[in-house]
Symmetry: C2
Subunit: 456 residues, 2 copies
């Protein structure tokens, strides 16, 4: 599509020439995200203020031009790829931390603040914001909210939906609005805060967020448990989550992923049938009993080694191995299919065994690891050529069917975006999807916000 | 209004004669709730199954007849009073606990299950469901969800919005649907679960809920701190919430409320300028340090006594006094105005001082107590005659204006219902209210569900 001249004029007047571009270079740079899908936008603008975003949405609506919001493009689902062209609005320059209020345990931020920058600003005050995607040094809070992105700590501290008090935003109607509270409790009308979180920029564009902060516990212990096979590790996860001491991370890594991590991070990574990384946090004097409680649950059929990290370096080495997994897979398969299915934890053994069987049936390499404490596994299919790629797609459909049969759902923390929307009817009944379309129309009557995403 | 004969026929056919009534006695019994407002419905039906509720909503929609859902009517806002007549559907007979799954930390319940009955069923398994309104022995889970009702434990464990995984419901369109997950994490489409929670039966009728369970800590300690005046107690609350050990209850009781409680519960209740009840929970070995941390924060200017309860009986006596407060006030003022405003905790001193000034200015008795850890205070105006009642209403408007000026909101846990909807424009901008009306229309295009509530 070509952008109408009148709209382009409004964009230039609103954003200025250094924050509005139709140049080839900018259009290419904002055509793709970490899904490796891409589609060229017709223009890219860089917002700095709420008022600009109101003008932008109103103008795009007037001209019926698609508008796709973007944080840092670290999502893996194509949620920020402008598949119908139009305007991409990047929030990377709208990145001020407006206020940190430790007494009331909240921070007010603009959407372009990086997750890692916020954590660094909070640390000296003794607080953190729980969502911690692996990409935290480079991903924006706005993107975290759009996708309900989580991370290892979610098992104890919750996702963005549990850690956000209020929002300022601009609906697809072009109206600015505020929702939520500055308090930790509220029963004043519909909960639009949670509705916008995870809506992937299809309802409204978030211009400010009031985040709930959590005091950082002073102590942390990291355990490493290796198991004979994936099934016995999955059973251990279910046992750990059935006892009262909730770990602040409970990560599962299968044998294939361990080999990959070892190639990447060296022989501090053990070879085993599967590994769990378990972290517990709290005030120092509470840690020995917490370690004891999770250790008791980790023991059982198939346990081979159970080791408590003794030094900060040792802990760091364990996490490096875990964090190396995503890039390591790209070396095998640049077009890896990166899923994050989730099932109730007691069904994890059936899930990992079922995935193993599907991997054999379709002859596709699958690496499985992730946030097992939430039942949330990254199931990564690694096709190495076109034939394998075709088999991988057939396999993927069966993986999703397996997950749904185990009372699970398509995504725990990545969202739906472009790549999973065809599978939505597997997860949600037609009535729910119909109501979601009604709600989409309530916020965005002309369908200009991020078209082609989330809803099939 | 009179119910159309065809609708009545459908109701009889759907519910049977023992669960469908147009008799005077039933209509009277379902005309009011704990707000003491009342309005007669034209018919009352008692649901037992999801399919009945679908038929009911479809039939009411076809005939454009208002439909008001009801749990046990313990709400204080008139949320279940059928102000436009029509049909009341009571969920009190749809009260089965369908499944308790400790391994996956969830329970599936019908909406009529009483909060207290659920807690009793969970206790032997070592779990609880955090929301605990004072009315827990008599209030239903469906009502808790409709109003986002909370209670003292919310300060540590969150409200229904933080403790519900998924729902089954029937929208105002007449369509049944499911939303949410059976997992503790999900990023598959819009968050309808939280949207329905707190929507007071205006969007959809909940027929099943999957509740997130929390392991019950094995230990609990209760502290009582008395202060010279309300202001110094309010400052202590802000200090307690600014340090890392979050209490599982932090209740504030002002001097007037203490006198009332003492009249009711005897002289185990101290006389003081104000009192805090502080509870910490956790595994037994963690309690001494937790008690020490909150005690340190409780100390400061104006502290008069600080006492750790030594026995279960002593703890029980403290809570009896706190729980006696609501009924005790009815003896002074049958028409008490029962608010539950909320402000950021650091603004509590300004709030309690401001309320005190307004009480004097308008010459109306105001009792203040509540869940101070969330900044959530029950501000109860106790007019004793018509003249005082008039002054109380003028005073109330100023209380709300004060709350909003302190970045607070109208309701922390009671909701809006009938009695506060005229004040909604104080709390929310016209754009937010407009979008709420759009969302209402998306779920309930003919406006049959609980008309006259929540939105002004």
């Amino acid at each position: 599509m070509n952008i109408p001249a009148a709209l382009l004029e409004t964009l230039h007047a609103t954003f200025g020439h250094d924050a509005c571009s139709t140049g080839e270079a900018e259009r290419l740079a904002y055509a793709y995200d970490n899904s490796r899908r891409n589609a060229l936008p017709d223009a890219v603008v860089f917002a700095r203020e709420h008022a600009q975003v109101e003008t932008l949405v109103q103008a795009c609506r007037e001209h019926r031009v698609p508008l796709t919001a973007r944080g840092r493009g670290t999502n893996t689902t194509g949620a920020t790829v402008p598949v119908e062209g139009g305007v991409v609005v990047s929030f990377e320059r709208m990145n001020r931390i407006l206020r940190i209020d430790p007494d009331n345990r909240f921070a007010i931020v603009e959407p372009g603040v990086l997750n890692g920058d916020l954590q660094r600003a909070l640390a000296p005050l003794g607080f953190f914001w729980p969502p911690d995607p692996t990409s935290s040094p480079w991903c924006s809070i706005g993107g975290n909210l759009a996708c309900n992105s989580a991370g290892p700590r979610t098992v104890k501290y919750g996702s963005p939906r549990e850690n956000t008090l209020g929002l300022r935003a601009v609906a697809g109607t072009g109206e600015g609005f505020r929702c939520g509270t500055y308090t930790t409790k509220g029963a004043t009308g519909y909960d639009f805060t949670r509705l916008l979180i995870g809506s992937e920029g299809t309802l409204a564009l978030i211009t400010e967020a009031t985040l709930k902060l959590t005091p950082k516990p002073s102590g942390l212990r990291t355990l490493r448990a290796t198991y004979r096979d994936v099934s016995s590790a999955a059973h251990a996860v279910a046992r750990i989550m059935a006892q009262p001491v909730t770990p602040c991370a409970l990560e599962f890594i299968d044998d294939t992923a361990l080999k990959l991590a070892r190639d990447h991070a060296g022989d501090s990574v053990p070879l085993a049938g599967a590994m769990l990384m378990i972290e517990v946090d709290g005030e120092a004097e509470t840690l020995p009993s917490a370690v004891e409680a999770v250790s008791r649950a980790a023991r059982g059929d198939g346990l081979e080694t159970l080791h408590v990290a003794q030094t900060a370096e040792e802990t760091q080495a364990l996490w490096s191995a875990r964090k190396a997994l995503s890039p390591a897979q790209r070396t095998i398969s640049p077009n890896k299919i990166n899923e994050d299915v989730v099932v109730p934890v007691s069904h994890l053994p059936e899930l990992v065994n079922g995935i193993r069987a599907l991997s054999q049936k379709h002859d596709v390499l699958i690496v499985t690891f992730g946030h097992a404490g939430n039942g949330n596994l990254h199931v990564n299919l690694l096709p190495r050529n076109d034939a394998e790629r075709e088999r991988a797609h057939a396999c993927l459909a069966e993986v999703f069917a397996l997950v749904i049969s185990l009372q699970g759902t398509l995504s725990g923390e990545h969202g739906i975006g472009l790549v999973k929307r065809e599978f939505m009817p597997l997860a949600l009944p037609p009535s729910t999807l119909g109501l979601m379309r009604n709600v989409k129309a309530a916020f965005d009557p002309d369908g200009i916000l991020n078209p082609g995403k989330l809803l099939p």
